[in-house]
Symmetry: C2
Subunit: 125 residues, 2 copies
DNA sequence: CTAGAACCTGACACTGACGTCAGAGGCAAG
DNA sequence: CTTGCCTCTGACGTCAGTGTCAGGTTCTAG
C-alpha cells in the first residue's frame, strides 16, 4: 500500500510516517518513481511505534529497543534488552507519579464539592 | 525567603520560579531593590505547581484551575471547577494509555526472556 | 488526454517549559 | 572597600515530533 493508505489505517499523518522512516524506525520499498510502498505488516508496525511514542520513548530510544521486537533472541544486543527494561521501569515510575497527581486532583475536587454543598444547604435555609 | 532558597527547598530552578510568576501562578513581594521575597507557604505552592505540571497541565490550564485551590467555594467560577474535573478525566485516560503501553513492554520483555531461555537450554545440550 | 488526487523532497514554523548568557545591581563578611 | 555570591531584566537557544508550504512529479479515473 502507499503512504496515504497506511496513514489512514494506522491513524497517523503522512508527515509522521516519513519522519519515522527518517529516524530509521520504519522501512519502505520504493517504486521506480520513488514512491513508498508498504506491506500489510506496516500497519501494526506503525501502531507499535505510536504506542512506544505514547509511552514517552524518544525516537532514538525506540530505535535502540526495536531490535528486541524484530529479533527477540539473544543475538539481540544485551544493551537493547536492558534499555527496554529500563524504559519499562521509567514508565512505571511515571505512572506512579501521575497517579499521585490524580489523587491530588481528586482531593481538590472533593474539597470543592464539599464547599459548594455547604454553601448550597446554607442558602437553602 | 529569597528566590534561591525557595528554589532549593522546592527542588526547582530559579528560572522556573520566575517563569511561574510570569505566568501568574506564583506571587512574590518585592523589596525596595526589586528582589523577590516569599513566605513559607510558597514552598508548598511551588510543589503543588510542580505536581500539576507533572500531570501534563499547561501553564494556562493551571492558571485557570488555581482559583479552585485558592478559594474552594462556589464563588469560584464554575468553569474553573469543570476544567479541573476535565483535567482529572484527561489524566485518567492518559494513565490508562500508559498502562497499556507498559503491558506491551512487559509482553515484549517476557518474549525476549523466553527466547533467551530457550537458546540457553539449547546450547546447554 | 486530462483533471485532480496523491506523492516526492526540502525547509521553515510551532509549541512550551525551561536553559543559558549578558550586563548590571544588591548584600553580607572580612 | 572589596570580594564573592545572589539577584535582576531581557533575550535568545533548545528539543522533538509534527504542521505546513513550495514547487515539482506521478498515478488514476473518466
Amino acid at each position: 500500500m502507499r503512504i496515504g493508505e497506511l496513514a489512514r489505517r494506522a491513524g497517523v499523518s503522512v508527515r509522521s510516517l516519513r519522519y519515522y522512516e527518517e529516524q530509521g524506525l520504519l522501512e519502505s520499498e520504493r517504486s521506480s518513481s520513488g514512491q513508498r510502498h508498504y506491506p500489510e505488516a506496516a500497519v501494526d508496525r506503525v501502531i507499535l511505534l505510536q504506542r512506544l511514542y505514547a509511552g514517552g520513548l524518544s525516537s532514538r530510544t525506540i530505535g535502540e529497543v526495536l531490535p528486541c521486537v524484530d529479533r527477540p533472541s539473544s543475538d539481540t544486543s544485551e544493551a537493547a534488552f536492558e534499555m527496554m527494561v529500563g524504559e519499562r521501569d521509567r514508565l512505571s515510575a511515571h505512572i506512579e507519579d501521575l497517579l499521585r497527581t490524580r489523587d491530588m486532583l481528586d482531593e481538590l475536587i472533593a474539597t470543592n464539592r464539599r464547599h459548594n454543598a455547604t454553601l448550597a444547604s446554607d442558602s437553602a435555609r
